[in-house]
């Protein structure tokens, strides 16, 4: 029997329009062959730009933007769909193959009720009656662990949480009983505590419905939990293709080995030291609300060390940064920095206060003026705080570029000409230029590929050793915390629920929330998901 999906020598191209140059064709996917049998799950893994989503969408013969499927064969149920006409494609999309997008929040139509959207394909393709479709949708809502499956569909997308939307999207994909579902980073945008539940729900739904799946992700630990086979991609080419167990335990290629061992930096924590930043009983709320987003937060950050603030989205991590920087003046509490008490609001802080406290953001892209060169961007704080101009400034900028390991040739480039990791490095150099005592790093590696993120973390550690700068490191990623922190504060709903040295915080006994958080981080290990779920079941039964 032929495989359900059989991709042979696939080649995908697009036209790129670099500014100031003639348009040229670029190859996104080159000579990739892969197949999925009925009821099996294939994991596609690689960094951004590796072509995983492009290959995933090619299973529906869909090219995003101007992407063209230029060569090879895409055999779906035995027939080549690469050059099928639009009517034939409409007939197979949403019926034989369905799609689960990364951001369900954006992928649901905000103007329509969930039920209408979930059963839409079953009706338009004439697969079942409205009553049957609704019944199946309710059954799927229940299977995916959504609350009140009977009435869940009457809600609008904005009325449910991100994790619930992701499950609803899975229900939408499964409703028309497709042969193949493409999951495109379905848990990447979720908190780690939500991710594990959604992952388990998806895995169970795949198993129970017997559907085949393409599971696309950049996180090898996640895909190891659901896939039967894994295809590792890089720059649009196959790196390695094999059964999941072999890829995880016995990778043949260097690149795969790097992916497997990623996030294994372990940082030895530094001994106690006098604090550079001391936050005492800080409480804050946004104007016009009567809800405290920070409640009585007390933490210290020793000079030249790293305090990691962890928690899920909405826990108040970034709000804490806003309170420290003065963007959100606290209603109560004191913030002491470098031996002096900081005034609450930004306007009444001295220039030294501003200089010694710098920030790096998650989105390096939006944190830089796209019309300024790297030299101008890094030179600005030199000019502003130290009055440097001309050659003096240029020499200092070059020194900073050397420090962030970017060397010559970058000073006159524009941000658009840099990669994601390089952009983040420039932001780090800009922060360093002010000679700060403290840098607040707000999810600085979250938008980066794992290997690139590792590079940034190593750089930050080196810089800390050289410059004796302290970091307040905000992240939701516990692997990052292990790699960089000296002290850890776990935040939940605006409060610090656990705080201390890294070893203390990460050593049992845990409080309930920290336990949940720590045990939810996917581990590069087969069967990890089942173990955690079984463990949790036992505990809840024991209670």
């Amino acid at each position: 029997m032929p495989d359900l999906l059989d991709i042979r020598n696939l080649r995908i191209e697009a036209t790129s329009y670099p500014p100031g140059e003639a348009p040229r064709d670029v190859v996104l996917v080159d000579d990739v062959s892969v197949s999925v049998a009925k009821g099996k799950v294939l994991g596609l893994i690689g960094e951004s730009g590796a072509g995983k989503s492009t290959i995933g969408l090619s299973a529906m013969a869909y090219g995003r933007g101007g992407v063209r499927l230029t060569g090879g064969e895409i055999l779906l149920n035995g027939r080549n769909i690469r050059l099928a006409d639009p009517a034939a494609l409409r007939a197979l999309r949403g019926r034989e193959v369905t799609y689960v997008a990364q951001s369900a929040a954006a992928a649901f139509n905000p103007a329509k009720r969930l039920m209408e959207q979930v059963i839409e394909t079953s009706l338009t393709h004439g697969l079942m009656s409205r009553a049957d479709a609704e019944k199946r949708a309710v059954m799927l809502f229940g299977k995916l662990g959504l609350p009140n499956p009977e009435t869940f569909g009457t809600r609008y997308p904005h009325q449910v949480s991100g994790g619930q939307l992701q499950r609803a999207m899975t229900a939408m994909a499964l409703c028309p009983k497709p042969d193949l579902v493409i999951f495109d980073e379905p848990t990447t945008a979720l908190d780690v505590t939500t991710q594990i539940d959604v992952l388990a729900a998806i895995k169970e739904a795949i198993h129970d419905t017997g559907v085949a799946a393409l599971y696309i992700t950049h996180d090898l630990a996640v895909v190891a939990q659901v896939a039967d086979d894994i295809l590792v991609l890089r720059h649009g080419k196959k790196v390695e293709y094999g059964p999941t167990a072999q890829i995880i335990t016995d990778p043949h290629q260097d690149y795969t080995r790097a992916l497997v061992s990623v996030r294994s930096i372990d940082h030895v924590e530094k001994p106690e030291a006098p604090p550079v930043l001391s936050i005492q009983n800080v409480t804050a709320r946004y104007r016009g609300t009567n809800f405290d987003v920070l409640k009585n937060v007390t933490v210290d950050l020793p000079a030249g060390q790293t305090l990691a603030v962890v928690g899920e989205s909405g826990s108040g991590k970034s709000t804490l940064a806003r309170a420290i920087t003065g963007l959100l003046p606290p209603s109560q509490g004191r913030i002491t920095f470098a031996g002096r008490e900081l005034s609450r609001d930004l306007q009444s802080r001295s220039r030294d206060d501003l200089r010694e406290l710098q920030m790096i953001y998650q989105m390096a892209d939006t944190a830089m003026n796209p019309r300024q060169t790297v030299g101008t961007i890094i030179g600005r704080p030199l000019e502003f705080y130290f009055g440097m101009t001309g050659d003096e400034k240029r020499i200092r900028v070059q020194e900073l570029l050397d420090e962030i390991e970017m060397g010559k040739g970058y000073i006159d480039r524009y941000p658009a000409e840099l990669s994601g990791g390089q952009k983040q490095r420039v932001c780090i150099a800009r922060a360093l230029a002010a000679k700060p005592k403290l840098i607040i790093c707000d999810e600085v590696t979250s938008a980066l590929d794992p290997l690139v993120a590792d590079g940034i973390l190593k750089l930050l550690l080196n810089l800390q050793a050289q410059e004796h700068v302290a970091y307040l490191f905000i992240t939701h990623d516990l692997a990052t915390v292990k790699a960089i922190a000296d002290r850890i504060a776990v935040m939940y709903r605006g409060q610090v629920v656990r705080y201390g040295s890294k070893t203390d915080v990460l050593t049992p006994p845990f409080d309930d929330y920290t336990d949940l958080l720590l045990s939810s981080v996917p581990e590069m290990q087969l069967g990890w998901l089942e173990q955690v779920l079984a463990h949790r079941k036992m505990e809840s039964a024991g209670n």
Binding site: G94, A106, K112, T124
Partner: protein, 318 residues
């Protein structure tokens, strides 16, 4: 209170406040003109005694704020005063013409709004291909023609070349509805040609903007037909910008069509206003100005309310 109801009440209250401010502006504007009503009535050869007597009898000697509140009070009780030129009751004169204005505007709107939206959807569906180019080309040409040129062209075409309509759009009390429709056919055609392009272009732009969203990709990957994607998934999210432009054009159909009225001899508010501006009949100008302002503000409140109701986040709060 439901948040929508609260927002609607807020908008209406703001609208009334705005209307009050406009009435003050209109009053002050006419106040600031050189000369006054007495002088306008008696003309330049008036003797100072005659002027003083007339001012006394018209109450013009009272301070302006007293006269403003008298004027405002009159309007609130339905009394717009009398026209200086012919002594007619302004309320009565306006009432009939306002009816004619609204009839013409409604006829034009009933045809042009659905047509513009439909053409906009089709143009968006075939974005950049020949149906889009034809629709855009034709509607942009008609909006580029001055109204009177379009009017004469339509008159020439439909009364001379193909003689199916009367060139004059005379209406009078007691006319049957059907006769009225026939009478306004030509001006309606001209107005449709004039307002179509703006609404069509905005519909097209709003739809194309929404077509960039991730949920449109979801709809395409569901294998839905292009027209269903546009109608079911794009249009409900593009209502707010479309409505705001539709309303702008509706307001224009009520307050801005004096040229078309004159060309077709249609007896409506625009022509009435321009006649009395020429004669410096200030009470009429004030009254009509206030009515036009009320129409503008009312329609814009309507647009706001529709935009609010079309937003599921406001309709169904968490």
């Amino acid at each position: 209170m439901h948040p929508i109801l609260k927002l609607v009440v807020q908008r209406i209250a703001l609208g009334l406040l705005l209307l009050l401010a406009v009435s003050l502006l209109i009053f002050l504007g006419t106040e600031a003109l050189p000369g006054d009503v007495a002088q306008a009535i008696l003309g330049q050869s008036a003797t100072p005694e005659a002027l003083a007597n007339l001012r006394e009898s018209l109450g013009l000697n009272q301070p302006s704020y007293v006269r403003y509140f008298q004027w405002l009070g009159g309007i609130l009780t339905g009394d717009f005063g009398v026209a200086l030129t012919n002594g007619q009751d302004i309320g009565q004169a306006i009432g009939q013409r306002l009816g004619n204005t609204l009839f013409l505007a409604t006829c034009a709107a009933v045809i042009s709004v659905p047509l513009a939206i439909l053409l906009g959807l089709v143009a968006a569906r075939y974005n950049g291909r020949w149906p889009d180019k034809v629709i855009s080309g034709v509607t942009l040409s008609t909006i580029s023609l001055p109204e009177f040129v379009a009017a004469y062209f339509v008159i020439f075409l439909l009364t001379q070349v193909i003689p199916i309509f009367q060139p004059v759009a005379m209406v009078f009390p007691g006319m049957s509805f059907w006769d009225r429709l026939q009478a306004v056919a030509l001006p309606v055609i001209v107005l449709v040609l004039v307002v179509l392009a703006h609404m069509m272009r905005m519909t097209r732009a709003a739809i194309l903007n929404v077509m960039q969203s991730a949920y449109i990709e979801t709809a395409e990957l569901k294998g839905l037909s292009p027209m269903r994607v546009i109608w079911q998934h794009a249009f409900p999210n593009a209502i707010a910008p479309i409505v705001s432009v539709v309303v702008l054009n509706l307001a224009y159909l009520v307050v801005g069509v004096v040229v078309v009225e004159v060309v077709f001899g249609y007896n409506a508010l625009g022509q009435y206003l321009v006649d009395h501006v020429a004669k410096r009949d200030l009470p009429v100008v004030q009254a009509v100005g206030l009515i036009f302002a009320a129409v503008y503000i009312g329609l814009n409140i309507l647009a706001d309310v529709i935009a609010i109701v079309a937003n599921p986040r406001l309709r169904h709060p968490k």
